[in-house]
Subunit: 103 residues, 2 copies
């Protein structure tokens, strides 16, 4: 897939804030609209809106508009991309140390 360093940071920023991690935990019980998420978090409405944008940008969460409500859910496709990305960036192709006093 060849994601850029920048794109990788955007994906994993989703999980770099405690409130956002908490949002994942809540969304694990199923799709939920912003107003109900708000009830379970100690955040203002604009702050939640900001976090939902970060989450959607990462691809790990998707939003679905229905009338005046926004329904959010965890994206399994996004999760797969993140998983593949994590696997790809942590795989080691060679194990020998070609460094310093190991000449």
């Amino acid at each position: 897939m060849e994601l850029s360093n920048k794109q990788i940071t955007v994906i994993f920023k989703a999980l770099c804030d405690e409130n956002r991690v908490q949002i994942f935990r809540i969304l694990q019980h199923g799709e939920l609209c912003a107003c109900h998420l708000l009830e379970e978090l100690h955040l203002s409405q604009p702050t939640l809106s900001h976090h939902m944008k970060v989450l959607c940008d990462s691809g790990l969460v998707v939003g679905r508009k229905e009338g005046k409500w926004m329904h959010y859910s965890i994206s399994q496709e996004g999760a797969k991309v993140a998983m593949d990305c994590l696997k790809e960036i942590t795989v080691v192709t060679e194990n020998d140390c070609k460094c310093c006093n190991n000449q």
Copy 2:
């Protein structure tokens, strides 16, 4: 394993900075000491040292001291923890929307 929200953010902070992602790419070719990492990055030595600390704190990278050199490598155990964590936080237990106009 039951990681706290805070612990999860510490793991994934490793991948939230472009320079750190680049460090992963370099370490994929094998263990390397800080001085050689430094040659490949446009960073000052103290900044690299800072990033290596963030990476080690995440568990995704491990450092091995050998004389005056610090050798860094990607930790496969750390990668597994991160993978399990990502899987755990994105799994959805129920899919029905119990929300708003879906009463």
